[in-house]
């Protein structure tokens, strides 16, 4: 019993370390996968600042690392009336950890959003919790971590293609997500969806 309680306590810490240091941030739910189109929109399912910030940062990184033509957040605002808006996400609760349940997503709202966006794929994300870890001392620094859960849907139709759950570090002062973390998430998504941009050769 004691061991299990200790384990339950250590799990979030270990999980966080793994999430930040190289665990999978995306996996396909439909395999094999070959992209049918190139247009993609990263949509926030929440109206809070963390979700919007992550949606913007991930969209930008995906634009750089993948062959997807990613809609900017401005284009999304123009296309979807009242964006951002609340879309019930794939979780039961999300205070310090996200209690993920992929059956909970409000698919009717997802499909409604897709109708406004003339894209091939919609990457819906929810960043419901930003948690502070540690404390600022002479030897250590307090840092914020935003936890994210996401689903990639084919459009139209809303067929789920992939799922994500990860955490990214947030700058304590600027409150912006670390671009390194976002780049890693974007690279993995591009790699697994076979849309990685060819490296441009600087030699010659």
């Amino acid at each position: 019993m004691k061991t299990r309680r200790r384990r339950s306590c250590l799990m979030p810490a270990i999980g966080l370390a793994l999430i930040l240091s190289g665990c999978a941030t995306f996996h396909l739910t439909q395999e094999p996968f070959q992209p049918k189109g190139k247009k993609l929109a990263v949509i926030s399912g929440l109206t809070n600042a963390s979700s919007l910030d992550v949606a913007q940062a991930l969209g930008e990184e995906l634009g750089k690392t993948s062959r997807f033509h990613v809609l900017s957040q401005r284009q999304i605002v123009q296309a979807v009336p009242d964006y951002p808006q609340l879309v019930k996400g794939p979780y039961k609760s999300a205070y310090f950890e996200i209690d993920v349940d992929f059956t909970k997503t409000d698919m009717a709202r997802v499909k409604e959003l897709q109708q406004h966006l003339a894209v091939d794929y919609v990457y819906m994300l929810w960043a419901p919790a930003t948690v502070s870890h540690g404390s600022s001392t002479w030897f250590s620094k307090k840092y914020l971590v935003t936890q994210i859960v996401a689903q990639l849907f084919e459009s139209p139709g809303g067929k789920e293609i992939g799922r994500s759950q990860y955490a990214v570090r947030v700058d304590d002062e600027t409150h912006h997500v670390f671009s390194d973390d976002m780049r890693r998430v974007a690279l993995e998504l591009a790699e697994k969806t076979h849309t990685m941009k060819e490296p441009t050769s600087s030699r010659k």
Binding site: T3, S8, C9, T47, S93, E97
Partner: protein
């Protein structure tokens, strides 16, 4: 024997802390002579984190179940205000002892109220949600969760703030934590906060449903 005593002590401490409240004002009228009319109210969250939305949901339910006021559901609020929830700024007084809706937000709230059409708008925030873990050298950990709950009820059409709420709540997990869902203890903390607000609301405004 020693281990058994330690277990009892841990359980005792957990029970003592479980659901235990911190200090503060659960619900008080700004002007004690003001009479709240049993008309209609909408609860809106002033924050956009999960705990803010859940607190608004639980407070809506408590007010609906236990008071004579007509209460607008959170789904209706979402339908009326597509960008809901929106962050509503506050001004802090006396080191967080009291928080008020920032006067710059009055116009925005007025617009929201025009869509909701209720006599009162009750804005609530759950701030500084914190988890503190304690791990014993003998093995085993326990967590204590705490949150600061703030609220203001505004009367319309005047837009005047008629009440304030500012208190801290704590809740600790128990030996049953293994069998509970991840957010269980925070949910309980928020539910209890909403219950407490409505207990005091009924006492102060005399708008409780007759049984």
């Amino acid at each position: 024997m020693l281990s058994l005593r330690h277990t009892y002590a841990t359980i005792g401490l957990a029970l003592l802390l479980g659901g235990c409240g911190g200090g503060g004002t659960v619900f008080a009228l700004k002007d004690p002579t003001y009479a709240v009319k049993p008309t209609s109210v909408t609860v809106i969250t002033g924050g956009s984190e999960e705990s803010d939305m859940k607190l608004a949901e639980y407070l809506t339910k408590e007010l609906k179940d236990r008071t004579k006021l007509q209460v607008v559901g959170q789904e209706e609020v979402s339908r009326a205000i597509p960008s809901y929830p929106i962050a509503i700024k506050t001004v802090e007084e006396k080191n967080g002892e009291v928080e008020w809706v920032d006067p710059s937000e009055q116009t925005r709230l007025q617009k929201l109220q025009a869509k909701l059409k209720t006599h009162y708008v009750f804005v609530v925030w759950s701030k500084r949600l914190k988890q503190t873990s304690y791990c014993s050298s003998r093995g085993g950990c326990s967590n204590t969760y705490s949150a600061d709950v703030y609220g203001n009820m505004l009367e319309y059409p005047s837009g005047q703030i008629v009440s304030h709420t500012a208190f801290n709540r704590r809740n600790s997990d128990s030996v049953l934590a293994l069998f509970r869902s991840k957010g269980y203890y925070v949910d309980e903390l928020l539910k209890k906060s909403a219950e407490d607000i409505v207990d005091e609301f009924i006492k102060v405004t005399n708008t409780g449903k007759s049984r």
